[in-house]
Amino acid sequence: MNELQLKVLELLKEDARRDADLIATLLGAPAEEVKQAIAELEHNHIIVKYATIVNWSKVDDEKVTALIEVQITPERGRGFEGIAERIYLYPEVKSVYLMSGAYDLLVEVEGKNLKEVASFVSNKLSPIDAVLSTKTNFILKKYKQDGIIFEEHEGDDRLMISP
């Protein structure tokens, strides 16, 4: 990846709605080059998707999210890959990470309510042969996600005009 692509990524990470012309101006680069950089990043699946970070706690929608620590027995030849795939293909699974430490996979599961998540864990996740144990942790409140702080505690309090 070249330097331009890296800078383009940083600017889009800050605000995905910025268009190529604005990014070109901010970076002092030709618009054509920026357009091409974005196209390549998309084509190479480095930019996977343009998404919105939502503070769901402000929405009248009772979602619950759990982070589940899963211990598994790796498969001969495929290690953790096959099990991870079996797990991440479920639509209620939002993310799956292979971890070092006391457990193997960290699985983020979202459901309408506590019961739905519990049901997923007991009916889908735990019965997988390779799964040795699960430990379910519910998220009570999100303070910061992807570098974005949810509470606006640092507003712009500067004087309107100053020397």
Binding site: L11, D15, R18, L22, T25, L26, L27, G28, E154, D156, R158, L159, M160, I161, S162, P163
Partner: protein, 405 residues
Amino acid sequence: MIKDEEELVRTKVKRQAMADYLTPSVQNIKPSGIRRFFDLVNTRKDVITLGVGEPDFITPWHVREAAVYSLERGKTQYTSNAGLPALREAIGQYLNDQFQTPYNPANEILVTVGGSEAIDLALRALIVPGDEILIPEPCYISYSPITALGGGVPVGIETFAKDKFKLTAESLQAVITPRSKVLILCYPSNPTGGIMTYEDWLPIAKVVEDNDLIVISDEIYAELTYGTKHCSFSAMPGMRDRTILVSGFSKAFAMTGWRLGYACGHPDLIAAMLKIHQYTVMCAPAMAQYAGVEALTRGLEEKDRMVDAYNQRRRLVVKGFRDIGLECHEPEGAFYAFPSVKATGLTSERFAERLLEEGGVAAVPGDVFGLGGEGHLRCSYATSVSNLAEALDRIGGFVHKLKQG
């Protein structure tokens, strides 16, 4: 009534108005043009302001945390008058690393309450009433008034957009008289964003030497240059002992409210400034000084991140003004653009007022910054990209309307 009492009564009559008690030097100072415009802006809602001369970033958390930690440990006493030894060490190291300007922390560095105090101390230490203080303009609004308060005579030197607002040796030489004593420099410049390079400084240094001037070099924006590394006047051959380098933490480290600055120079000058400093403010606030150590020793990466962001916004603003049809020289330092509004036929004050009223954008009229400022507008780009884009939209609409009459 005996004669002395008569005299007293007469004096009392004379001083009926409170203003009669004030010194002429204070009475003669006009209210700042910025303050006046500020009052006007405050009457409005839904204004996007490009009038703010301070970073829009909050002081990085690790720096704030260092100050909190100093309070938790009970570090709440006076520090030494010249400043915490650890902070002076850090300043010395930093100046040497960044700008190749070595100073001895033991006797050549003085920690002050902001860069402003450092400039005031330097002027008070140097001015004999009647001395002429030379000031390239447009410039930071304080230099002339504090010169006058100290009994000096401010002498402006006009700089021009066509020269990128650089000071030239010819224009400096032209204002020098036998009473000239001090030259105040501020590059990168507030309000123009102009900078001076090594080659630009060389002829200036010669004039300074030939005319035996002392230089107060306000380098508060030194970290904020784009494309060219800052060249300190103090680093010019033969200039170190003639220069009081003034800087601080406000702009580079987003620490305006901490009021932390410093002055560096010849030990005799620093000793003189230290006398005034210790009898007026004792020392800079302790917790701010602990934060300053943290900023200088571990804050350079955060600073670079902020400079990158300013640079991006600078490109947006310059292109924006040019697209609108307003001439705008390319600022190479600080965080101000200084476009010309002469093409609209309005004075800077009238343009700024109407832009505020009709466009909902606040920017400071250039004439408040002295000679050469008329016909310009100071626009700070220390605000978010989305704010800048919206402000440029509004300014574009306003100028378009002006053109249509």
